[in-house]
Symmetry: C2
Subunit: 256 residues, 2 copies
DNA sequence: AGGCCTGCATATGTCTGACGTTACCATCGG
DNA sequence: CCGATGGTAACGTCAGACATATGCAGGCCT
């Protein structure tokens, strides 16, 4: 008999701990995180495990290991913010910061209208199915958003809707971006659905976007995507004009 | 005295070796790479070093480690192709494949016109300086492209030109993309400069792009960026219409 | 006095050997 | 026929030691 009592728990992730500390603002670029042996002691874990986790932060571009000196937090510009793991940490540990939310929204305002436009040109029937299914899920979970579970389901459909549009561009990089943005989108979606300023309007804006893609109207899709994000911004009480990234992108004035 | 004779060489990188094997097509998704102990023996290196390197491939999304079974190559769609390390491996080990070149070009055709358009709206005077300096470098190294060194310098300026435009969008993500695309751009640039189909024309297209950004003409910048890339495609003998990603993006027909 | 060199302390990098855990598989017994 | 049992192979973790790189302080020489 193996006396394996009370030990089904996995070992603590040092990467997770340090990510929380760093993204939470307890360490800044240039600072040194605790040395390996301190982390070993602190978490009652072996040095190889600590080193394995630190390697993850190195690969994410967050820390730099200096032989014989320590592990230094790198400049923000060095971080691999297009890594899914990094955006995940970002949304989980740095999300309360409204500046971060503004940055995320500003980026989505830069990218998603263009993605929608491209999707409108290339979407196949199969892509439309995915978009439509997600949209129907949105509608179904709109009314009965009572319990926590229902709201989570609604957020899931919202994400699926946006992801399906990314995929419809048939471009590997846009598709990857949708994975990377997933946690960020989830953050904005769940927060904006809490303060839900008229979910009916939001649904209608999503429908407009879907229809524009279906009817192969790139310009309309561009504008509809902007409208969807504007609705999100409004629900969050964010004025995107205050973004440090500059104003959002406008379509060159056109005559259809 | 420490008898440190003839040992300034760094240890072989297992990650590098495996990347070459995998990107070169010797291993396919689903295959298992050699086990840790075999790699230890093969490179006369310790297991911890091997594990450290394998961790890098895991973080890049290229392999998946199955406890008690082995290290499996993941599906291409799982790879973190927006990781600078991955694109570097891609261009160094998978570049001879013309399909890869087509994919890269197709992506750049999707992104760069839009980036140029955004840059035309947001570029500051400081951004213009960077763009112009790179452009002047292009012109200077155009004539005397005699030796290898000169050609390399020319390629560097070409990259700097494109990077400066990415930065001029003042969007963190586009700026990161420029880092990530760096090796890919270098590949295309250096190859197209070899088969240089009229470098004068290429220079003129770059000038048009720069001027459009300077004069804040987003539409012209969009078209100029397309023209630059079309020139590259032509020099490489690539018909982008044959891309598996679909045809390139057109601007909605507008009247300025 | 100033500069270079040496030696020490510290932290990361690597090596060695062992044990634990998990997945696969073949064999055995109901 | 099928499920349980044990063995084997591979990855995961542990423990301790040595090797190497960095930074600093003190001493020697110019």
């Amino acid at each position: 008999m193996t006396l394996s009592l009370s030990k089904p728990l996995t070992r603590p992730s040092i990467a997770e701990y340090l990510a929380e500390e760093i993204f939470g603002g307890n360490y800044h670029p240039g600072d040194f995180v605790p040395r390996e042996l301190d982390l070993c002691e602190r978490f009652a874990i072996n040095r190889s495990a600590v080193r394995s986790d630190l390697r993850q932060l190195v690969d994410a571009g967050i820390i730099e290991r200096i032989s014989g000196h320590g592990s230094k937090v790198r400049e923000y510009s060095e971080w691999h913010i297009l890594d899914a793991q990094v955006t995940d940490w970002l949304t989980r540990y740095a999300a309360p910061n409204p500046d971060i939310q503004r940055e995320i929204l500003a980026f989505r305002l830069d990218v998603e209208p263009y993605v929608a436009m491209t999707a409108a040109k290339r979407a196949t029937a199969r892509d439309l199915v995915a978009i439509e299914e997600a949209f129907e899920g949105l509608g179904q979970n709109l009314r009965n958003a009572t319990c926590e579970e229902e709201r989570r389901l609604h957020s899931e459909c919202d994400i699926a809707f946006h992801e399906a549009i990314f995929k419809a561009t048939h471009n590997i990089v846009w598709a990857q971006l949708s994975h990377i943005l997933r946690p960020s989108i989830y953050l904005l979606v769940s927060m904006s659905n809490q303060s839900a300023s008229d979910p009916e309007d939001s649904l209608e804006r999503h429908r407009q976007l879907m229809e524009s893609i279906r009817l192969r109207r790139p310009r309309d899709a561009f504008l509809a995507a902007q409208a969807v994000l504007a609705g999100t911004a409004e629900a969050l009480g964010l004025e995107h004009s205050a973004s440090s990234l500059g104003r959002s992108v406008e379509l060159p004035h056109t005559a259809p």
